[in-house]
C-alpha cells in the first residue's frame, strides 16, 4: 500500500480526545480565514473541529500512520508533496513563526500547551495498523476464510484444536503476541518432536494466540518449549509412550506474580488464565508444529486431563524452603521454568500428623503406590506440598534436603515383599532382585514444590513417567524476554 500524498501548504493533524487540539480549534479556523493553504486531518471525529470547513477524515489513520504522526496536534509544511517542516503541540511563538502569521492567536488563553499521543501510536492500535497498512512481515501461510465460513468451526475443520475452541490467530493478534518478546519472529526456538520441525517465534506466537494466552505470558511459553525440546526431557518418547503423562510446567521467580499466575488455592485446577493457557500453548505447539497428535505418534492408552494444560507457579512466599529453580541451580530472583513428565494429581491426606517424622512416613506410604506398589524404579513422581503440611516441617526446622533424605529412607524398599507372585499378584519384581533394598524412584526424585492452599492438610503427588536417560529427566531454564 502506498503512502497517501499530502496537499501542499500547511497540514494539521488533530483529534477531539485531546485537550490541546480542542484549545487550538479556533486558531485553526483563524488560520484558514487568514487565507493560508490549510488542510486539517482528524483522527477520531470527522466533525471535529467544527469551526474549520472541509476537515479530512483520517479515522482509518492512513495519513497519520504513513506520515509518522506521533503527537497531536502536529502542524506540517508541505511543498511539492514533500514535508519540509513540522512542529508539535501548541506554542504561540512557534506557530506564529512556522505559519508566518504574526498576530496569530492574539486572543488565545494560553501561550503553551503540550500535545497528546497520536492515535496511530496508541499501543492498542499498533498491531492493527501494522497489519492494515502492510507493515507486517509475518512469514506464515495465510489461511483466508470464506465469507460464510464460521471461524471457530474452520479451526476445528483444519485439525488445529486440542478439542476446545481456539482464539482465531489473526495477524493483528499474532503481532500483539510478538510484542511480548524481544526475540525476532524468524528466530528458531526449538526443534519440535515428533516431526522434528524447527519452530520459529512467529509459529509459536500463532499457537499461543490460539491457546488464549496474553503477550506477557509469551516468554514463559517460549522457555517451556525450549525446555521440553531437549534430549533430556525427551518429548518424543513422552508423546509416543502408551503411559498417561504429559509435560508439567512449574514457574518460579518474579514473572509468575507479574503475569498473575496461581500458586495457591486450586493451583492445579481451572480458573487462572496464565496457568491454563501457558500449558495449553505448549501442547498446541507440539500438536501443530511438532505434528504430535493422539492416534498419531501420541499413543497414550488413556492420556490425562493435564495433557490439555498442566502448569502452575510455586508458592515461594509461603514456602519454608528455597524455590525449585534455586535448588536446581539458578540464582534466587531468577524467573524460571521447570518441566517434568507427569499426570494426576493424586491425593495425600494426613490430618493428624504434627511431627515431621510421622508426616514424612505418611507421605511415603502413599507415594509407594505410584504405578504399582510392587514396582520400583519404573516410574518417577513429584510432590506438591501444601502450606498446612509444610508448616509441620518448618516448625521442626527441616530443610528441603532433610525432607528429601527422610522420604528417600522410607521409599527404599525391601524387594522380597515386591516379587512376582507375592500376595497372589503376578505383577512385581523379577526373582533376581530378591533380598535387596532398592529405591522406589530415580535419583533426585521426587521433585518437591510448595503450592496450594489455603486450608487443607493435604499434599499432592504428580505421578511421573519413566525417569532417567531411558525416559524423561526434568529440565530447568531461565526465562529470557
Amino acid at each position: 500500500m502506498t503512502s497517501p500524498t499530502l496537499p501542499d501548504g500547511l497540514v494539521a493533524v488533530v483529534k477531539r480526545d485531546c485537550h490541546t487540539c480542542v484549545l487550538i480549534a479556533p486558531i485553526l479556523a483563524e488560520l484558514a480565514d487568514s487565507g493560508a493553504d490549510l488542510a486539517v486531518y482528524t483522527q477520531d471525529d470527522p466533525a471535529f473541529p467544527s469551526q474549520v470547513p472541509g476537515v479530512i477524515d483520517d479515522t482509518d489513520l492512513d495519513v497519520s500512520y504513513h506520515h509518522d504522526i506521533e503527537t497531536v496536534p502536529s502542524l506540517l509544511r508541505v511543498k511539492n508533496g514533500s514535508e519540509t517542516g513540522r512542529i508539535v503541540g501548541w506554542s504561540r511563538d512557534q506557530w506564529r513563526e512556522f505559519t508566518g502569521v504574526e498576530d496569530l492567536a492574539a486572543d488565545a488563553e494560553t501561550d503553551f500547551s503540550p500535545g497528546c499521543g497520536s492515535l496511530s501510536v496508541d499501543p492498542s492500535m499498533t498491531a492493527l495498523l501494522a497489519v492494515r497498512f502492510g507493515g507486517s512481515s509475518l512469514a506464515s501461510r495465510r489461511v483466508e476464510l470464506a465469507m460464510l465460513e464460521d471461524e471457530m468451526e474452520a479451526m476445528f475443520d483444519r485439525d488445529w484444536s486440542d478439542g476446545l475452541p481456539l482464539v482465531p490467530p489473526t495477524q493483528r493478534r499474532v503481532m500483539a503476541m510478538l510484542d511480548g518478546t524481544e526475540r525476532e519472529p524468524s528466530d528458531i526456538v526449538a526443534t519440535v518432536p515428533p516431526d522434528l520441525t524447527e519452530a520459529s517465534v512467529e509459529k509459536v506466537a500463532i499457537n499461543a494466540v490460539m491457546a488464549g494466552a496474553r503477550p506477557e505470558y509469551f516468554p514463559v511459553i517460549l522457555t517451556a518449549l525450549e525446555a521440553v525440546c531437549t534430549d533430556e526431557f525427551n518429548m518424543h518418547g513422552l508423546l509416543a509412550t502408551t503411559y498417561f503423562s504429559g509435560p508439567v510446567v512449574v514457574v518460579n521467580g518474579p514473572i509468575a506474580k507479574a503475569i498473575g499466575m496461581n500458586s495457591g488455592g486450586n493451583c492445579l485446577g481451572q480458573g487462572n488464565r496464565a496457568n491454563m493457557t501457558i500449558g495449553r500453548a505448549l501442547q498446541l505447539v507440539v500438536r501443530n508444529i511438532g505434528g504430535g497428535r493422539p492416534g498419531g505418534v501420541d499413543r497414550s492408552a488413556f492420556g490425562s486431563p493435564g495433557k490439555l494444560s498442566f502448569c502452575f507457579a510455586e508458592d515461594e512466599d509461603g514456602s519454608p524452603w528455597e524455590p525449585l529453580s534455586v535448588e536446581r541451580g539458578l540464582a534466587p530472583g531468577t524467573s524460571a521454568v521447570t518441566v517434568f513428565a507427569g499426570h494426576g494429581p493424586s491425593a495425600i491426606v494426613d490430618q493428624l500428623s504434627r511431627q515431621p517424622e510421622s508426616l514424612v512416613a505418611s507421605m511415603a506410604s502413599v507415594m509407594v503406590k505410584t504405578g504399582n506398589p510392587k514396582l520400583l524404579r519404573g516410574f518417577d513422581a513429584s510432590l506438591v506440598i501444601g502450606p498446612e503440611h509444610s508448616r509441620i516441617f518448618r516448625e521442626a526446622g527441616w530443610d528441603k534436603a532433610r525432607v528429601k533424605a527422610e522420604l528417600g529412607e522410607h521409599l527404599t524398599l525391601n524387594t522380597d515383599a515386591m516379587l512376582r507372585g507375592v500376595d497372589g499378584i503376578d505383577e512385581g519384581l523379577p526373582a533376581a532382585l530378591a533380598g535387596q533394598r532398592l529405591p522406589k524412584f530415580g535419583k533426585g526424585m521426587p521433585l518437591i514444590i510448595h503450592a496450594g492452599g489455603g486450608a487443607g492438610m493435604f499434599s499432592a503427588i504428580i505421578e511421573g513417567w519413566v525417569g532417567g536417560p531411558m525416559g524423561s529427566i526434568p529440565v530447568t531454564r531461565e526465562v529470557r524476554p
Binding site: 492494515r132 471461524e151 515428533p194 516431526d195 519452530a199 509412550t241 499413543r299
Partner: protein, 99 residues
C-alpha cells in the same frame, strides 16, 4: 472498521509446520522372499524378542534371510546411523509396532 480491517480479520495465520509431506514411491513388493534380506528391528520392549524370534523362523521358511537390529531404548527414535545401516543391509523392511 474499514473494509480493509474487516477482511484482515478473516485471514488467519497457519499454526502448523506447513509441511505437505513429500510423496515418496514405495519399492514394488517382491514376488518372493527367496534370497532377500529382511530387517527386523527390536524396539527393546520386554518380550519383543519372543515375537521377533517367531517371525524370523516364519520368514526363514519363505526363503528369506533375516538380520536382527535393536534400538538402544524404546522411548527414543532409532538413531539415524542404525536406520542407514538397515537400509544398506536389507532389501525388505516390515514396518510394525507391537506393545
Amino acid at each position: 472498521m474499514t473494509d480493509t480491517a474487516i477482511s484482515a480479520e478473516r485471514i488467519m495465520l497457519d499454526p502448523t509446520n506447513e509441511s505437505a509431506p513429500a510423496h515418496r514411491e514405495r519399492n514394488t513388493r517382491p514376488h518372493s522372499l527367496d534370497g532377500l534380506t529382511v530387517g527386523l528391528l527390536d524396539i527393546s520392549k520386554p518380550r519383543g524378542n519372543v515375537f521377533l524370534d517367531r517371525l524370523q523362523q516364519l520368514l526363514g521358511e519363505h526363503g528369506a534371510s533375516v538380520n536382527r537390529y535393536a534400538k538402544p531404548t524404546f522411548t527414543k527414535p532409532a538413531p539415524a546411523d542404525l536406520r542407514h545401516q538397515i537400509s544398506q543391509e536389507c532389501q525388505v523392511v516390515i514396518e510394525a509396532l507391537a506393545d
